[in-house]
């Protein structure tokens, strides 16, 4: 997929969810009620309602989405900045390339114990692990786009006597908007997944902690309900990013 390529790809129609809804309905009405580990969907909603009444649902959602937003913003900023540096400087790219490959293949789960040792069960620890594992799609996209910028475009900036700052703002950044957007679109679901993973692993806070708690006390309807909720949040995030991408595509177009 290229930025600005397929306009229909950004926001898939919601009717695509129909098979999922049909599946859930079938589960509700056709599945045997006796199996305790597989409660029907209406039970999930009741369990979520219980959680809401107890006052722990909204704070959990808020915590998770806050971590998500913070980690995504950090990933975009750090990923883009590093991507530009590495894409524009061959020397830096050679110097840092191998170490970056090392970090890139590091699984988030393996990082959690180390991060906990250093930072404890804190919000910073979550942000550290999540950002480190989700900057890659943005960094790599921006790096390759920064390498491909037409040299004539940058020479044009020089012969038109644009200042360094104006060259960054008017030529470099706009040339990379598409790559940043595409990287963000790939990174966003990863950020959400890793936030939940860290929350489940550390039982610190957020939806992940609620899932982990419910699972350890065998409240299976709550687990299913929270997983469904996560899915809905993920879908909302994707729609939002896709929609913002469609807006950006009016701005950056392929040459």
């Amino acid at each position: 997929m290229t930025p600005g390529g397929n306009h229909g790809a950004s926001a898939p129609p919601l009717r695509g969810l129909l098979p999922l809804i049909v599946g859930l309905l079938a589960w509700q009405f056709l599945a045997p009620k006796s199996v305790a580990y597989l409660p029907p969907p209406l039970e999930w909603l009741k369990a979520l309602e219980t959680l809401r009444v107890s006052g722990s649902l909204w704070p959990a959602i808020f915590t998770t989405m806050t971590s998500f937003a913070e980690a995504l913003v950090l990933s975009i900023l750090i990923g883009s900045a590093l991507g530009i540096l590495l894409g524009r400087s061959q020397r830096l790219d050679r110097m840092l390339g191998p170490s970056l490959e090392f970090w890139r293949t590091m699984p988030a789960g393996a990082l959690v114990p180390v991060a906990v040792l250093i930072l404890g069960y804190t919000e910073q620890m979550t942000l550290f692990v999540v950002t480190l594992t989700s900057i890659w799609p943005i960094l790599l996209n921006v790096r390759s786009a920064a390498r491909r910028i037409s040299p004539d475009r940058l020479d044009a900036a020089r012969v038109l006597h644009l200042s360094w700052f104006a060259t960054q703002r008017k030529i470099l950044i706009p040339s990379l908007v598409g790559a940043i957007q595409l990287g963000t679109q790939i990174a966003a679901p990863i950020v959400l997944i890793i936030v939940l993973l860290v929350e489940i692993l550390t039982q610190g806070s957020g939806i992940g902690r609620e899932i982990s708690l419910a699972q350890s006390t065998f409240r299976s309807a709550t687990v299913f309900g929270l997983v469904m909720l996560t899915g809905i949040l993920g879908l909302a995030v994707n729609l939002l990013i896709g929609w913002s991408g469609a807006l950006l595509r009016n701005y950056e177009t392929n040459v």
């Binding site: 040299p151 004539d152 475009r153 044009a156 020089r158 012969v159 038109l160 177009t253």
Partner: protein, 279 residues
């Protein structure tokens, strides 16, 4: 109309008469090296050129002889070797000089696709001129290249010839004293190229800029130039330097039928061929 307006505007500018000896551009014992450290290759050596103001100079040479490199040196994009002297209006050139604008062959790579034609033309004016003034200058420049009615179109909505005209307008908007053009019509189809050649001649007459124009197309060079310079050798130096005997007014049909045109064309071809057999 717009041409006359432009000519009046350009002629009355204070910079136009400011300098002394009528020489717009001068290079003395110019040498250029490409590559780094142990892999340096001398591309150009001992090149002397003096270009009077308002002259239209075409620089020819076989492909690979260093034409584009030479123009990039003139434009301050590539440094000359130590000991070279380069001057624009009496001022030494180090880095892209004020008053000189480069027009690239690759119009698609050099225009910004997220800006309209007018905003592309304004790019070089944004740091120095207030909004109203630069819009006016951009529109004048677009009018000069015949694209005033396409000011709000994006480059992707235009043909290759129109995009190249936008790039020329972007250069003209800076009211340059020296235009450096690197095979600007090389990527265009024959018909568009012929139209743009005559237009460029007209723009040159009206604007009073000095033009250095790189091409490998002999007919194009003979049609356009007041003076022709052929580069040859390795490293390259001036092989031929002649002032065109053709009248100032040129067009695609009658100019090309003139005996002087054919004679000049013959001389240039012989020069280029001669080098080919010798090497």
């Amino acid at each position: 109309m717009s041409v006359a307006e432009r000519a009046a505007g350009g002629g009355s500018g204070p910079e136009m008469q400011s300098s002394d000896d009528g020489i717009a551009f001068r290079c003395r014992s110019l040498a250029v090296d490409l590559g780094i450290a142990d892999y340096k290759r001398r591309i150009i050596e001992n090149l002397d050129i003096e270009v009077p103001r308002r002259q239209f100079v075409c620089i020819l040479g076989e492909s690979g002889v260093g034409k584009t490199t030479l123009l990039r040196v003139f434009g301050g994009l590539v440094p000359a070797a130590p000991g070279s002297r380069l001057e624009l209006n009496g001022q030494a050139i180090s880095g892209p000089p004020q008053g000189a604008v480069f027009v690239f062959q690759n119009y698609a790579g050099s225009l910004l696709p997220w800006r309209t034609a007018r905003k592309n033309v304004e790019l070089g004016l944004e740091e120095t001129l207030p909004k109203a003034e630069r819009q006016r200058r951009a529109m004048v420049a677009l009018e000069q290249v015949g694209l005033a009615d396409r000011a709000n179109d994006y480059p992707r909505q235009m043909s290759g010839g129109m995009q190249q005209r936008v790039q020329i307008a972007r250069a003209l908007a800076l009211e340059p004293r020296l235009l450096l053009m690197d095979e600007p019509f090389g990527a265009l189809d024959a018909m568009t190229r012929e139209n743009l050649q005559i237009e460029l001649r007209r723009i040159h007459q009206a604007s009073g800029a000095t033009i250095m124009f790189i091409t490998h197309d002999v007919d194009e060079a003979v049609l356009l130039a007041d003076r022709l310079i052929v580069l040859r050798g390795k490293p390259a130096a001036v092989g031929l330097d002649i002032v065109s005997p053709l009248p100032k007014e040129r067009d695609q049909i009658t100019t090309k039928e003139l005996p002087a045109f054919l004679e000049l064309r013959h001389t240039i071809y012989e020069m280029l061929r001669g080098h080919g057999t010798r090497a």
